[in-house]
Structure formats: structure tokens, C-alpha cells
């Protein structure tokens, strides 16, 4: 891909703790990506609308509120409704292994990261997946 990878970083739900999201945004920027940061308390509708307008390759979601099993499937459904099957979606936050497996196997979330996941791993995952896609 001869253009920068575009990533939307968003925080769905009501928790207002966005340090993790900012750390990731910064790491992706330093890896040469264009990171659209939309801030806290986003509904799935708002996130999908922003992703559509910004034509992003990747959506990164940070979620700590515990509402991931309602918000993330809803978001994936909206993406499908808009024909945005090709957008890579990764999630980070406090998500149990069981929930992570369901989100990946049944809802199409590409990867789920827990607290303390090394940022370079996330960067490499996104780079590899974006390379093979185009």
C-alpha cells in the first residue's frame, strides 16, 4: 500500500478513561499511520459514521466499561449494513477470554487485546493485516 494506513480510534460506551486509547493512538502515529481520534462516549452509530466518512482501513476500539458484549456486536452489525466488510476491527480493554473468543469467532472482531498488551504487537498486527489485504 503506497498510502498511509488510516485508523479510527474510538471509545464506545460510557467510561471516560482514555489513557489507553491515547497511548495506542500515539504508537500508531509513530508507526507512520494516520490516526483519527474521536474521543470518549461514542455510540456504535457515531463510530461507524465516522469510519465511513474517514474511509479508514482499521477501527481500534478501547472499552473498559464491561458493555462490550452489547456494543461491539452492534457495531459489527452496523458495519455490515453499510457494506464495510473490509474494515479491520480490533478491540482493547478488560475483556474476558471467553468473551474475546465469541467476539472473534461470531462477530468478526479481528483481535482482542488485554491490559498491558505491548503496543508494538498491536502495530505489527495492523501492518501485516493491511499489507495482505490490498
Amino acid at each position: 500500500m503506497d498510502r498511509p494506513i488510516r485508523v479510527l480510534i474510538a471509545k464506545p460506551g460510557l467510561d471516560g478513561h482514555d489513557r489507553g486509547a491515547k497511548v495506542i493512538a500515539r504508537a500508531l502515529r509513530d508507526a507512520g499511520m494516520e490516526v483519527i481520534y474521536t474521543g470518549i462516549q461514542q455510540t456504535p452509530q457515531m463510530i461507524v459514521e465516522a469510519a465511513l466518512q474517514e474511509d479508514v482501513d482499521v477501527i481500534g476500539l478501547s472499552i473498559l466499561s464491561g458493555a462490550h458484549m452489547t456494543l461491539l456486536p452492534r457495531l459489527m452489525e452496523l458495519l455490515r449494513d453499510h457494506g464495510m466488510h473490509d474494515v479491520l476491527v480490533v478491540a482493547g480493554g478488560i475483556i474476558s477470554d471467553d468473551d474475546a473468543r465469541i467476539l472473534k469467532e461470531q462477530h468478526g472482531i479481528a483481535e482482542v487485546y488485554g491490559p498491558g498488551a505491548p503496543t508494538h504487537e498491536i502495530v505489527r498486527f495492523i501492518q501485516e493485516r493491511c499489507e495482505t489485504r490490498t
Binding site: 498511509p4 502515529r29 490516526v35 483519527i36 457515531m46
Partner: protein, 316 residues
């Protein structure tokens, strides 16, 4: 081209993909822009510039909300800087535009400057053309946080709004060349802070030092507290008045000519460079660089040689 047709039909995903295409550039982008060119020229293009933290995004969002209430559709291009070291960027202008979310009459696109230094990106003009063709009545362009030299927006917009905040600089700052010269409207934002009146006075005094402007428009100095929506109607009305003024005075054609000339120059530079790159191999390029470093060839002669190669008909 069906992407062009889908965009004209109001397909927002097509518009988003078209924006990506013109940002990337290349032959496909060119044919898309050629196909849509006849559909442009309808929107009121408004540039919003000012120092980092002056309140550009907040003001843009408030103006957009005002025009939506007046029944007009609004496209927004928000430019943020690209890191010169990593080519990465954080585009954070949407954070202050959340209230516009869910409105089909608004389309917001963030854009990284990608190495351009004039306060907007190379493709900003093309992106404006796409929003214009997609039938947005008003297109707002928010520049990167600008200092004194980022004045390119004035060549890309009909109306340029420059935002100042209280206490930023003295009255000599205000008569230096640069950003204040491009203002069609001056806005002192955060006017609830100390020193706002003084800043307004200084800006008015600065304007009064100049001869009456040759084009007959004296930029109004307005105040706002964009975060609370105060002063927005006056700014929107002044921007509309400025467009009326341009049209009624015949200056609109002049601005359009300036815009077209600017665009053409940029496209010409880029095309020339692309053609040269396409016809000159990397090893040839490096050989020329080596000759320049060795002082056996001067850079002007090298450029002449490359341009001849790039623009000649041989090899087509």
C-alpha cells in the same frame, strides 16, 4: 466512471472513497476530478485558520450547526499536521464536532497535511471540489494550527476567517506580514477572557493603519465564545455578506481567477515532477545528485536537463 456517478447521487461511501483517491493522487484521481469538474463551482468555500488552540474546530462545528438550522448542507475538511519524521499523524478535530454526528446534511473529513507547509494539504483543493460536486452548500476548511506564514488557505477559499484569542501578541505582531493580511473576517474567540476588548481594539487599529482596501471590503472584527455558541450568528452572517459583496462588486470573478491560477500552478508543478520521475530511472537520478554534490553540475542545469527529458514527446 461509476464512482463519480455514485458521488453525484449522494452516496456517502462513494464520496469517502473518492476523497481517499484524490488524497493518494495518480491517474484515477485525475480522471475522477475531470469527470466531476463541470459539477463544481456552486459551494461557498470558507477557510478557517488561526493558532493551535484558538478554537478553530469548535468554531467550525458551531458555524456548521448554524447553517444546518438555516437548512443548508455543510461539508467540512479538517487538516492536521503530518509528522515529518514518521509520516504519521493524529487527526483530532472530530472530537470537537461530535454534536454534528448523525446529521446526513453534514460530512466531515479529516486530512493530514502530508508534508505540505502552507497550512493545508496538497489534496485539500481537490477534496473541496468533491464536496462541492456532492452538492454541499457550504464547504468549511479548517487549516492546521497556523502561525504567521500558513496563508495558502486564502488562495483556496472565497472567504477566509482568521481566529485570534485575547492576549496573543502586541500591536506590532498585528502589523507583521502574514496571516492577518489574508483575513476577510477576524474573530476574537474566547472573548469571555481578560484582554478581549484590548485585542479587538488592537486589531481594529491595525486595520485602520492601512489605506482603505483597494477591493472595498474592510474585514470586520467580531467576538465569539464558540464553545457556548455566542457570536456565531454574527460570524455566519458576515461570511454570507462577504460572499454577496464578492458577487455584487465583481470581485468574485477575480477570486475565482486567483483560485484557478493557484490550482493550475500546483497541478503543473506536480505533473512536471511526476513525468520526470516516470521517465528518469532512480540510478540516473542518483547519478545527477552525485554530480551536484561533486560540484561538476549545478542544480539549475540538472533541473533543466530533467525537465527536458520529462516533457519531451519521445518515449510516449
Amino acid at each position: 466512471m461509476d464512482l463519480a456517478q455514485a458521488l453525484l447521487d449522494g452516496n456517502r461511501r462513494a464520496l469517502a472513497q473518492a476523497l481517499t483517491l484524490v488524497e493518494t493522487g495518480g491517474p484515477q484521481a485525475r480522471s475522477l476530478l475531470s469527470a466531476l469538474f463541470a459539477q463544481t463551482g456552486r459551494a461557498h468555500i470558507i477557510g478557517v485558520t488561526g493558532a493551535p488552540g484558538a478554537g478553530k474546530s469548535t468554531l467550525v462545528a458551531a458555524l456548521a450547526a448554524y447553517w444546518r438550522r438555516a437548512g443548508r448542507t455543510v461539508g467540512i475538511i479538517a487538516v492536521d499536521p503530518t509528522s515529518p519524521f514518521t509520516r504519521g499523524a493524529i487527526l483530532g478535530d472530530r472530537i470537537r464536532m461530535q454534536t454534528l454526528s448523525g446529521d446526513p446534511g453534514v460530512f466531515i473529513r479529516s486530512m493530514a497535511s502530508r508534508g505540505r507547509l502552507g497550512g493545508i494539504a496538497r489534496a485539500t483543493g481537490d477534496a473541496v471540489a468533491l464536496l462541492d460536486a456532492a452538492n454541499f452548500d457550504v464547504v468549511l476548511v479548517e487549516t492546521v494550527g497556523a502561525g504567521q506564514g500558513e496563508v495558502e488557505i486564502a488562495a483556496a477559499a472565497h472567504t477566509t476567517i482568521v481566529i485570534e484569542t485575547p492576549g496573543a501578541g502586541d500591536d506590532i505582531q498585528a502589523i507583521k506580514a502574514g496571516i492577518l493580511e489574508i483575513a476577510d473576517l477576524l474573530v476574537v474567540n474566547k472573548a469571555d477572557r481578560d484582554g478581549a476588548e484590548q485585542t479587538v481594539r488592537q486589531l481594529r487599529a491595525m486595520l485602520s493603519l492601512a489605506d482603505p482596501p483597494a477591493d472595498g471590503w474592510t474585514p470586520p472584527v467580531l467576538t465569539a465564545v464558540a464553545m457556548r455558541g455566542e457570536g456565531i450568528e454574527a460570524i455566519a452572517t458576515a461570511a454570507e455578506r462577504h460572499l454577496d459583496y464578492l458577487r455584487n462588486s465583481g470581485r468574485f470573478t477575480g477570486r475565482e481567477q486567483e483560485r484557478a491560477a493557484h490550482e493550475l500552478r500546483l497541478i503543473l508543478q506536480e505533473t512536471a515532477l511526476e513525468r520526470v520521475r516516470a521517465r528518469v530511472s532512480p540510478s540516473e537520478w542518483e547519478a545527477l545528485i552525485a554530480q551536484i554534490v561533486a560540484r561538476t553540475l549545478d542544480p539549475y542545469a540538472a533541473a533543466d536537463h530533467l525537465l527536458e527529458r520529462g516533457l519531451s514527446h519521445s518515449g510516449e
